[in-house]
Amino acid sequence: MARYILRRLAFLALTLVLTSLLIFVITQLLPGDVCRVILGREVGEAASQACRAELRLDDPALVRYGDWLSGFLRGDMGLSYSTDAEIGPLVAERLGNSLMLAGFTLAIAVPLATGLGALAALNEGKWLDNLISVFSLAVVGLPEFVTGIVLIELLAFRVGLPANSSIRPGTGFFEALPSLILPALTATLVLLAYIARLTRAGVLEELKQPYVRTAALKGLPRWVVILRHVLRNALAPTITVVAISFGWLISGLVVIENVFNYPGLGRLMVFAISRRDLPLLQGVAMVTVLAFALANLGADLLYAALNPRIRVGE
C-alpha cells in the first residue's frame, strides 16, 4: 500500500515535469512578443530590448526552462512578467480561495445529489423518480451564467445574499461563507444532475444483486439494507466522478468566477494567458495539475477502501 502511494507520487512528479515542459513549448510557439504585451505597442526598440534582456528572453529556451525548473524545485516560482509580483504567494492565495469554493460546493452537491439519486432509484418509475429526473435534466441543460444570473435574481436581490463575491486576500472561511453561497450553488446545479443520475443507476444496479436478497432475508429493516448494503456499493463509481469534479471546481470555474467576480484560480489562469505571462501560467498550471492528481489519488484510495475487491498495488 505504502509502496503503491509512493509509486503514484513518483508518477505524479513525472506528470508535473511533462506538463511544465508542454506549457513551456506551447508558450514558445504562441505568436506575439511578451514585452510588446507588457509595454504596449508604442515603445521603442531600445525599451523592448531592455525588457527582453531583463526577462532573459534571448537565452536559449532550454536554459530558461532549466532555470525555471531549478527555481521551482527550490520553491521559487519566480516573478510574474506582468505584475512583477512574486508568483508563489499569489497562486497560493488563489488556490486557497478555489479550495474553499470547491470544498463548499462538494459539501452541498454530493449529499444532495446522491440523496436525490438514491431516492429516485428507490422510487423507480414513480412520480418522485420522474420529478427528480426532469428537474435535474432541466437544470443541467442551462449554462452556468444563466443559472448564476437566475440565482442572483432570486437569492441576491430578494434574500440579500451578496452577489459580488470578490473577497479580499486573507479572508477566512467563515468570513467568506456568505460570498461562497451563490457561486457554490451555481456549481452545484451543474454537478447535480450528473451525480444524481449516476447514483440512481448505481443503486438500481445494486438492488438487483443477490446479496440484497440475502440481507433482506436476514430480516433486516429496509433502511438498513439500503444504507448499509446498497449505498456502500452503489457509491463507489460516484467517487471517481466527484474527484474529477473536484479538479474542475479548482480550475475550471472561469465562467462562474467571472459572473460572481470570485478571485479563484480559473480567473488567474485566464489572466496569465491573456498577458503571455509564462511564469504565472506555469505556476497556475502546476498547482492545477497537482490538485487534479491528488484528487484522483484520493479517489482511488477511497474507492479501494469502499471496494475491497480492488487490491491496490497488487
Binding site: 503503491y4 509509486r7 503514484r8 508518477f11 444483486q209 443477490p210 446479496y211 436478497r213 440475502t214 440481507a215 433482506a216 432475508l217 436476514k218 430480516g219 433486516l220 429493516p221 429496509r222 448499509r228 448494503h229 456502500r232 456499493n233 463507489a236 469502499l306 471496494n307 475491497p308 475487491r309 498495488g313
Partner: protein
C-alpha cells in the same frame, strides 16, 4: 394431526411480463413436517426456484401469488405485514441460494455479515456477538474462523463462501431451510463436503429443509421425500426411496434414465434421454403437459389434463397411465437408443502432445510496468504429454483450475502455448491460430460449453453452417447451401431451422447446431470442452449420444473434457485425470472405476453423489483448497490435500509414473500394489436392470 410446518395449498405463482402474466407455478400443494427434508426436483423452467422464493415470500417486484396459500406454522404468509414478514425471516425460515459469491456483499467483512444475522433477534452485546459469529463459522467447519471473519468474500474460496451463507442461515436458528441448488456452483469434491455438512446440520438440529435441485444424485442422498416439478406443475411426489425404486411418472423415469451412473458406458447401457424440450410457459399443451415428450402418450393424454392421483396414501402422481405403470403392464423406460458400438480402433496416433505449457500473465498495472516489476505468470498447463489415437475418445476429467479448458484452447489455437510440441497427423501444429493452414483448421474442430460463444447471434443457422463448408472445404455457395438440410438432419433438427437465428433456439438445439458445424468438415479430431454441462440432464443424455454416433459415423477422434467423471466414463475410451495443470492418472476407461486409483481420482469418484438412495459410498473427502496455479506446490501437486499423503517425499520429489499390467498409469509415490491393497472399489453401476 399436528399442523405441518409448511403447507402450500393450491398455490399458483405468476410473474408480470410484457406478454401478460406468466404462471410459473400452478395449483401446487405440498406439506413439509417439522424436521423433514423435502427434495424439489426439476429442470430449468420447471418453476422450482419460483416456488422456493414464494415459500420465502420474496418474489420480487414482478412476482405475485395468484391464488392459493402459503401457510407457515398454520399462519397465512400473505396476511403478514412487513414487520411480521421480517420476524419470520429473522427466526422462521432461512434461504441458501445457488451462487454464494453474489449472495454475499462484496464490500463487507464476513464477520459483519454473519453478525447481522444473529444480532437482530437477540439482545446481546458486541463481544457476545463476536463469540457467536466465530462459533457459527466453526460449526460450518471453516478453518480458522477468526481469519475468515476478517476476510472479504472474494478472499475465500467458493466452498467457503457457501459455508458462510449456511452460517448466516443457521444464525437465526430457523425451523425451515430453503436450499436452492446450494452446491451447483461448486466443484464435485467441494460439493461433497458441503453436502455432508448440510446433512449433518439438518439432522442434528432437527431443522426441516426444502432442497431444490436439478441433480437427482444430490437429492437421493439427502431427502426424505421428493417432489418432481415439470413445466410449473407437480407431476410426482413420493418418499425418496420409493420414488427411486419405482418412479410412476414417465418424466421422473426419464430423468432417472438420463443421468449416467459411475461406470455406465455407451456400449453397454446407453443413456435414454427425453426427446424434445420443456414447453414454454406461454405455450403449454392443453392435455398432459408432458405429452409431447412422453413415450407412453395416448390420445387421452393430448386431450385431457391428468389429475393428481394418490396411488398409495403417501404418493401422488399426475399421469393417466400410472395404474398400468404401477402394475408393470407398460414401461416408461425407453430403449430407443441402441448400445453405441465401439469398434477396435487402429492403434495409429493422430495427436501427440509433448511438454505442453500454457501460461497466462497476471495483470500488471501501468505503475507496475513503469516500476519495472517483472511479469508473473500462472502456469495453467504444465509440461503435459498426451496422445490420442485415431477414432478414439480421450476423456479429460478435472475440476475448475485443473487447466483442462486451457488445454483445449491451446490445442485449437485460441491461446498460444508457451512451450511444447503438438503434432496432428504427423504435422506439427503452429501454436497460433493465424499460422495454421486451412487444412489443419478443417482437421481440428471444437465444440464449446456455451454454444452462444460459438454461434454468431446475427447469422442464421444456415449461414453458420455454410461457413466452414465454404471456407474450409472450398465449396461454392450452392454446394454449401445444398448441404445444410443434411447437416441439420444429422443432428436431428428440422430443416426449417436453417432460416432461424440462434436466439430462437433452445440451449440444446444451439449445441446441436454447433455440433453439426463442427462435423461439417469431417474433422479427424474433435475437441469437446464441457459440451453438455450447461444443459439440462434430459437434454444432456441426447447430446452425449449424438456426439458418440456422429463420431462413429465420421471416424473422428475426440478429446472430451468435462468435470463430471460419470459423464466422461460414459463416453470415453481412455481417461486422463487432470489436477493443477498436470495429469494424475491415465488409462483405459473401463478400469478407471476399479482400484488402484490415484488418490485424487479416488476422492473424485467418492465425491459423486449417486442418483440412488440405496447406495452406500466410500467416504473420502478432500480438505483445504486447490492451491493457486501462480504458486503451485512442489513435488506432487496434490500433496497439500492428499488423503494418502506419505510425508516429505511427496513434498520434495516429483512422483514417478507407475503402470499396471492393464495399461493404467498413476502419478504417485505409492507403489501400485499398495494402492491396490488400500483402496476399495467405488460402488458402480453394473449395467444390469434397475
Amino acid at each position: 394431526m399436528a399442523v405441518p410446518l409448511l403447507q402450500l395449498k393450491d398455490l399458483s405463482v405468476a410473474y408480470r411480463s410484457r406478454r401478460g402474466a406468466l404462471r410459473a407455478v400452478r395449483d401446487l400443494s405440498l406439506e413439509i413436517a417439522k424436521g423433514q427434508t423435502y427434495g424439489l426436483v426439476g429442470e430449468s423452467g420447471s418453476g422450482k426456484t419460483t416456488l422456493a422464493l414464494a415459500v420465502l415470500n420474496y418474489l420480487g417486484k414482478d412476482g405475485y401469488i395468484e391464488s392459493g396459500q402459503v401457510l407457515f406454522e398454520g399462519a397465512d404468509m400473505a396476511a403478514l405485514d412487513e414487520a411480521g414478514l421480517r420476524a419470520l425471516w429473522q427466526g422462521g425460515m432461512a434461504h441458501v441460494p445457488q451462487n454464494p459469491f453474489t449472495a454475499l456483499n462484496p464490500s463487507m467483512r464476513i464477520g459483519e455479515q454473519v453478525a447481522e444475522a444473529i444480532a437482530l433477534n437477540s439482545e446481546i452485546d458486541a463481544p457476545e456477538i463476536e463469540t457467536r459469529v466465530l462459533d457459527l463459522l466453526a460449526q460450518v467447519r471453516l478453518p480458522d474462523p477468526a481469519r475468515v471473519a476478517r476476510a472479504y468474500p472474494h478472499e475465500i474460496s467458493g466452498g467457503q463462501q457457501q459455508r458462510v451463507i449456511i452460517a448466516i442461515a443457521l444464525g437465526r436458528q430457523p425451523s425451515l431451510l430453503v436450499l436452492d441448488e446450494p452446491t451447483t456452483a461448486l466443484d464435485v469434491t467441494t460439493e461433497a463436503v458441503v453436502l455432508d455438512l448440510l446433512r449433518e446440520l439438518v439432522r442434528d438440529r432437527d431443522t426441516a429443509a426444502l432442497y431444490v435441485s436439478h441433480n437427482l444424485g444430490v437429492v437421493a442422498g439427502l431427502t426424505d421425500r421428493v417432489a418432481v416439478l415439470y413445466a410449473s406443475e407437480l407431476v410426482e411426489d413420493a418418499p425418496t426411496k420409493e420414488l427411486y425404486r419405482q418412479p410412476l411418472h414417465p418424466y421422473t423415469r426419464g430423468l432417472l434414465d438420463s443421468v449416467p451412473r459411475l461406470g455406465q458406458r455407451k456400449d453397454v447401457k446407453p443413456l435414454q434421454g427425453i426427446e424434445g424440450q420443456i414447453p414454454s410457459l406461454t405455450d403449454l399443451p392443453s392435455g398432459c403437459l408432458f405429452a409431447p415428450r412422453c413415450p407412453l402418450a395416448i390420445d387421452q393424454c393430448w386431450e385431457e389434463r391428468p389429475p393428481l392421483d394418490h396411488p398409495t396414501p403417501d404418493r401422488r402422481v399426475r399421469c393417466h397411465r400410472w395404474p398400468e405403470i404401477l402394475a408393470g403392464e407398460v414401461d416408461a423406460g425407453r430403449d430407443a437408443v441402441e448400445p453405441i458400438q465401439v469398434e477396435d480402433y487402429q492403434p495409429e496416433t493422430i495427436l501427440t502432445v509433448e511438454q505442453l505449457d500454457v501460461q497466462y500473465p497476471i495483470q500488471r498495472s501501468l505503475a507496475d510496468v513503469l516500476a519495472g516489476e517483472p511479469a508473473r505468470y500462472v502456469q495453467v498447463v504444465d509440461q503435459l504429454d498426451l496422445r490420442i489415437r485415431s477414432r478414439e475418445t480421450l476423456g479429460v476429467v478435472g475440476e475448475s483450475g485443473s487447466g483442462k479448458s486451457s488445454l483445449a484452447r491451446a490445442l485449437i489455437g485460441l491461446v498460444a502455448a508457451e512451450g511444447g510440441e503438438v503434432e496432428l497427423l504427423g504435422v506439427q501444429l503452429p501454436a497460433r491460430l493465424d499460422a495454421r493452414s486451412t487444412e489443419t483448421l478443417a482437421h481440428l474442430q471444437m465444440v464449446f460449453q456455451n454454444p452462444e460463444e460459438a454461434l454468431n447471434p446475427y447469422l442464421t443457422i444456415a449461414e453458420s453452417l455454410r461457413r466452414p463448408l465454404r471456407n474450409l472445404r472450398g465449396m461454392s455457395y450452392a454446394e454449401a447451401q445444398a448441404m445444410v438440410p443434411q447437416l441439420l438432419e444429422s443432428v436431428r433438427l428440422p430443416a426449417e431451422y436453417a432460416r432461424r437465428l440462434p436466439g430462437q433456439l433452445s440451449g440444446g438445439e444451439k449445441q446441436r447446431v454447433a455440433i453439426a458445424r463442427a462435423f461439417a468438415t469431417h474433422p479427424d479430431l474433435l475437441l469437446a470442452d464441457e459440451p453438455v454441462s450447461a444443459l439440462d440432464v434430459s437434454v444432456q443424455a441426447n447430446i452425449l449420444n449424438l456426439l458418440a454416433e456422429l463420431q462413429n459415423e465420421h471416424d473422428t477422434a475426440m478429446l472430451f473434457i468435462a468435470h463430471d467423471i460419470a459423464v466422461v466414463g460414459y463416453l470415453a475410451d481412455r481417461i486422463a485425470v487432470m489436477y493443477l495443470g498436470q495429469l494424475m492418472q491415465q488409462g483405459p476407461a473401463e478400469i478407471i472405476f476399479d482400484p488402484p486409483y490415484h488418490p485424487y481420482t479416488e476422492a473424485l469418484l467418492s465425491a459423486v453423489p449417486p442418483p440412488d438412495p440405496f447406495v452406500k459410498q466410500e467416504h473420502i473427502r478432500l480438505s483445504g483448497e486447490v492451491p493457486s496455479a501462480a504458486d503451485p506446490p512442489s513435488g506432487c501437486p496434490f500433496h497439500t490435500r492428499c488423503p494418502r499423503f506419505l510425508g516429505d517425499i511427496c513434498v520434495e520429489q516429483e512422483p514417478p509414473w507407475r503402470e499396471t499390467q492393464d495399461g493404467k498409469a498413476i502419478y504417485c509415490h505409492i507403489p501400485i500394489e499398495e494402492l491396490q491393497a488400500a483402496q476399495s472399489p467405488v460402488l458402480r453401476f453394473n449395467g444390469e436392470g434397475d
